[in-house]
């Protein structure tokens, strides 16, 4: 017998109108890099209806040398935490350190050993959260409307090669900066998510036994932790995403930022919206096309909906 009714079918597609927006922009044409923020900020702001609670973005720019690491840090008490952080770190680890403060976030570049620097931060500035690390990634996220987050972190004037972003309508955990996306999953890697996971509590316990530490009760952080563990174990990004398609239960569209590009994957049922657009100059993904519509050449771009259960990558992702 048929068990479903029209109402539930339609609820399934109409329900997609809410719960988060994700966007990604990868510039193929290097001459556009100076205006990455100008192109990308309206994408994030256009997704405000889908996620007015918090917003965040990862931007890839100014790669540091091989001997250096770039950390993005966040603090609930920036006045105390940022004070003399660079000089204290330099003295403690006998290294060079440079701190660029942007509100309650700061970008720290140091030639100290990355693990040693992180251990020092945990010890001497325990309230600081490391929100991202790598050679080119910088992650900024905050509660509030996307336009305010854009303004606070001066996204519009930012340059860079690519960026991914998220506007959040909180459903699975509290509205906090820590629960905002993107979530770091490894060096120069981060993840944004539209949807919700149903087996995140079970997976979190499993991952904790494998040594992954979580800062929040958020389901996306579990997906990020899952990716982190698999990448740490030596899986390629593609293989880690494939493993995710098997282990992560729920509905989701993920956009994963990598050092040189980004990847997009949807759950096997394709429950959450996603659209991709590509021209000779750029590739963009968004939850809804209207976030892409303002980009130069969008009118004549190739536009398509990514297939479920299929991994799309750009750059050398």
């Amino acid at each position: 017998m048929r068990c479903w009714r029209d109402a539930s079918i339609l609820g399934m597609h109409a329900g997609g109108m809410t719960m988060c927006g994700i966007v990604g922009l990868y510039l193929k044409d290097p001459t556009l890099q100076a205006s990455l923020g100008e192109l990308f900020a309206p994408m994030l702001i256009e997704m405000t209806d889908r996620g007015p609670d918090s917003a965040g973005f990862a931007i890839y720019r100014d790669p540091v040398s091989e001997h250096q690491t770039k950390f993005t840090l966040a603090s609930d008490d920036p006045d105390t935490d940022w004070k003399a952080l660079d000089t204290d770190l330099a003295r403690a680890l006998i290294c060079q350190a440079r701190l660029d403060i942007q509100g309650d976030h700061a970008v720290l570049v140091t030639d100290a050993d990355a693990f040693a620097a992180q251990a020092w931060l945990a010890e001497s500035r325990p309230r600081i959260r490391v929100v991202g690390s790598g050679r080119s990634i910088e992650i900024f996220k905050q509660t509030g409307l996307p336009k305010d987050v854009v303004e606070q972190f001066k996204l519009t004037s930012a340059h860079g090669s690519h960026a991914i972003g998220h506007t959040r309508m909180a459903t699975e955990s509290a509205v906090t900066t820590a629960g905002s996306h993107p979530f770091a999953t490894g060096l120069d890697l981060c993840l944004v998510h539209n949807g919700s996971l149903s087996n995140h509590n079970h997976l979190r316990r499993k991952l904790e036994r494998d040594g992954i530490v979580f800062q929040t009760e958020n389901d996306t952080e579990v997906a990020a932790g899952f990716m982190t563990l698999n990448l740490r174990r030596g899986l390629s990004l593609h293989a880690a995403l494939e493993a995710g398609l098997v282990e992560l239960d729920g509905f989701y569209t993920f956009c994963v930022g990598t050092a040189n590009g980004f990847a997009v994957v949807r759950d096997p049922f394709g429950c959450k919206h996603a659209v991709l657009a590509e021209t000779g100059e750029w590739v963009a993904m968004a939850t809804e096309y209207r976030a892409i519509a303002h980009l130069p050449g969008a009118d004549t771009a190739r536009i398509w909906e990514p297939e479920p259960h299929k991994i799309y990558t750009w750059g050398s992702a």
Binding site: R2, D6, H13, E288, A293, D299, I303, W304, E305
Partner: protein, 227 residues
């Protein structure tokens, strides 16, 4: 042709202007520019007018349409022509999921591909897709026709009622209670009529027909344990 600039008027302004056209008005052709992927463009029309949209549209474009002809020069987002009653909606690009959802009548033509759940719960609409359709297309489709000139992805026609589906390419898998059926002369004639109406050049002889095996209509005593 009168022009409605959506950037200037907004979705509500454009839709109000179209709703305000009296039957038998002198201007049957309208052009919408700068759709910018906005949702619910040209919804709820009820007049024999022709609307051309220059660009890509967001969700639910042409929803609840009656009488009007709507042509989209671009991509259509989720739920194009959902709940259409009559008239014609043509997408010259591809369409996202749930195209023609619950539509009762009229003709929906998608020249490119349609994504998942095309024709979900359709109730009498005719849908002709020039390319392929995604998974779970024709899910619980009640009546009308779904013509697919390309391939169909997984679970085609799951829990289908009395809609009739014609597919020219490969079908990845059939959903519950969906079976291939014999192509009789009346089906070939209907398919030729639909392809002609959609202005798509394809030989009806190359299509296969799919529909309901009708095993879900009645309770099966073997399933008693499940309740």
């Amino acid at each position: 042709m009168p022009k409605l600039d959506l950037k200037e008027l907004g979705v509500r302004g454009v839709n109000s202007a179209l709703h305000g056209i009296p039957n038998g008005a002198n201007e049957p052709d309208w052009l919408i520019t700068n759709p910018m992927g906005q949702h619910a463009i040209a919804c709820g029309l009820d007049a024999p007018i022709e609307v051309t949209i220059n660009g890509h549209v967001g969700f639910y474009c042409g929803g609840m349409n009656q009488q009007a002809g709507i042509t989209i020069h671009g991509h259509a987002g989720v739920g194009i022509a959902e709940n259409m009653m009559s008239g014609q909606v043509r997408v010259m690009g591809s369409a996202s999921d749930s195209a023609g959802a619950t539509a009762h009548g009229g003709l929906l033509v998608i020249e490119g591909d349609a994504s998942s759940r095309c024709g979900i719960s359709m109730k009498g609409v005719d849908i002709v897709v020039g390319g392929s359709v995604g998974h779970m297309s024709g899910f619980m489709a009640q009546s009308g026709h779904l013509v697919v000139c390309g391939d169909a992805s997984d679970a085609l026609g799951d829990s289908i009622y009395e809609a009739i589906m014609f597919v020219r390419g490969k079908v990845a898998s059939l959903g519950a209670d969906c079976v291939e059926k014999e192509m009789r002369p009346e089906h070939l004639a209907k398919l030729a009529e639909l392809l002609n109406a959609a202005n798509i050049d394809a030989d009806p002889g190359n299509f296969r027909r799919y529909g309901s095996a009708r095993t879900l209509y009645n309770f099966d005593i073997d399933n008693a344990d499940a309740y």
